[in-house]
């Protein structure tokens, strides 16, 4: 009997870990894109998750409430809200680039100056959310969901299954855009060598703009999913920042699927850790993983060796 309970606990931690991992993966993709193409660690990226989540919240309060789709807790308007929030957050990211990072690029600022500025931007974005939407927690829906048993012993909320599936779709879509479209090719060329890309006549500013838009959209999806499965708070994104960075570095910058695997690995490690260490330390697990990666495999699981070196 005891062993059975342990097994169930383990299976549940795996399921929860995959869900957290999917959200982290959506954030890590944006961080990974910006490490490769914009060439700096963007500490304001996690705030885009928060913005996406809150924009979707505002949209759902204005849209007429639809009836919930099947077993899900939300109706069509939340699906629409993901799209609207994605577009709007893409614009927020673009605006931030115009106002701050583009200006610094034009002055040929050092990439660590960009990191500095991203911290300032993060502080401003986070506190703007607090000003606009207030400090209290929000929810998309008051519906209570009943967890369904998807596999023996593993219970998931229908919303969680939906989140996992949609994450996979989004990653696949990004992969196809990067592989098949001219824009994707331009972005990959930028990642290889900005100077060479410019010489080859690639519109580098356009590639940069779309990098911001894409990472903003993915972040917004991650933010809405986070809000859907937990709650909305002004610091919801900021609290994930370390885990998102760890996921991006663990996966290896330079590999999209690496970022996804990195996200899932961090999510699993966090949720499995509570089986052996006090849950208060759960949020420190990404840091331990990060140090392990930096000590033993700084290029990440799927990264090229030269990327991480100075």
């Amino acid at each position: 009997m005891h062993r059975e309970a342990g097994k169930t606990l383990l299976a549940q931690a795996v399921a929860d870990g995959l869900l957290t991992g999917a959200i982290l993966a959506l954030g890590a993709l944006g961080v990974s894109l910006s490490l490769q193409i914009l060439r700096f660690a963007n500490f304001s990226h996690a705030e885009l998750l928060t913005w996406g989540a809150y924009i979707a919240l505002t949209f759902t309060t204005f849209a007429t409430a639809g009836t919930p789709i099947g077993p899900l807790s939300f109706g069509w308007q939340l699906l629409l809200a993901v799209v609207v929030a994605g577009a709007a957050t893409g614009l927020v990211a673009l605006a931030v680039d115009r106002l701050v990072f583009n200006q610094l690029r034009a002055r040929h600022a050092h990439n660590l100056t960009m990191v500095f500025a991203s911290f300032g931007v993060a502080l401003i974005l986070r506190n703007l959310v607090l000003l606009l939407w207030g400090p209290d927690a929000h929810y998309y829906s008051d519906e209570l969901q009943i967890a369904v048993e998807v596999l023996p012993g593993i219970r998931l909320l229908p919303d969680q299954v939906f989140v996992l599936a949609l994450t996979l779709v989004l990653v696949l879509a990004l992969h196809l855009v990067l592989r098949l479209s001219r824009l994707g090719m331009a972005m990959r060329a930028m990642a290889e060598s900005p100077a060479l890309a410019r010489v080859c006549g690639i519109e580098t500013e356009k590639a940069i703009r779309w990098t911001w838009i894409a990472s903003g959209m993915l972040a917004a999806a991650g933010g809405v999913f986070l809000g859907l499965t937990v709650q909305l708070r002004p610091d919801m994104g900021f609290n994930l920042l370390l885990a998102i960075f760890t996921a991006a570095i663990l996966g290896g910058t330079g590999s999209l699927f690496g970022a996804v695997i990195g996200g899932l690995a961090v999510g699993l490690a966090e949720n499995l850790s509570v089986l052996i260490i006090p849950s208060g330390y759960k949020a420190a697990v990404p840091f331990m993983l990060l140090m392990l990666v930096l000590y033993f495999r700084p290029q990440g699981l799927f990264g090229a060796a030269d990327r991480a070196a100075t």
Binding site: F43, R107, A109, L242, T310
Partner: protein
Amino acid sequence: MMGIVAYLVFFAIVVLIFGVATLGLNLQWGTTGLFNAGVVGFYGVGGYTQAILTAPGRPELLGNLGLPWLVGIAGAMAASAIAAAIVGVATVRLRGDYLAIATFGIAVALQLVALNWERLTGGSLGLTSIPRPLASVFEEPLSYDLFYLCLMLAIAGTVYVALERIVRSPWGRVLKAVREDETAAVALGKDARRFRLQAFVLGSTVIGLAGALYVSFIGFVSPFDFVPIITFQIWTMLIVGGSGNNKGALLGVLIVWGLWTASGTLISKLVPAAFQTQGGAVQAILIGLVLVVTLLFKPRGLIGEEPVVSRHLG
């Protein structure tokens, strides 16, 4: 009148404590170009170590060893140095923003330790009645504060002079060379990684000293004394004043801390109690704007780094 004097003394002490931390950061960022995104982590390690080593013993706590003040200061600096070495060894060989991420991470992890390891840190309640140096000698609170101000002037002055000499020494010149052109420095036989690690550990040690001085002045410590925004405040002080210039660093502390407390007082007077959280948000946005605008329009800060030319060329 005495109220104002007492407040000014208090303000000056806090400025000098932040000044020491900013000087430490200036060695890392201003001189060596190392990005420390976890200033508050090292500041907190210093503060907590001071508390754990010097506070009077309590049966339910592992620490609270009741050791002398100077032992606490030395221990605080050593503990910050060790924390810096742990992240430094892994990251000095990697691209610069990895150090930023790792230091940000250690600050998050240390905050969790402070909150959760109740047997050592007292958890969210923190540790209290941390002894202040020579507290029994002074009867009046104001005369004690004046004494602490003199102590801080002596310590901050010593740190300032020491760092000025260090930066101008051959060792300091290598740090600048590594910052400006690592390849050239390596070609001249300098082990860039070792110099970066040394500068990072030394800078964090100074930041830890500032944390210990803060805690032994305030007399208590809790996780809420070491919130992430402190990292940000210390940076803004450095960038506004002028990174790479120790005088600029100190000037920046005065201006940014003055602006921060003035805006805080103003908001608490003007904003109704129910909206104080939003008032805090305005304050944070303000300091974020100060940083971004300085980076954009005055990247060298108010007093930037002095250009140095070899005396053999002059």
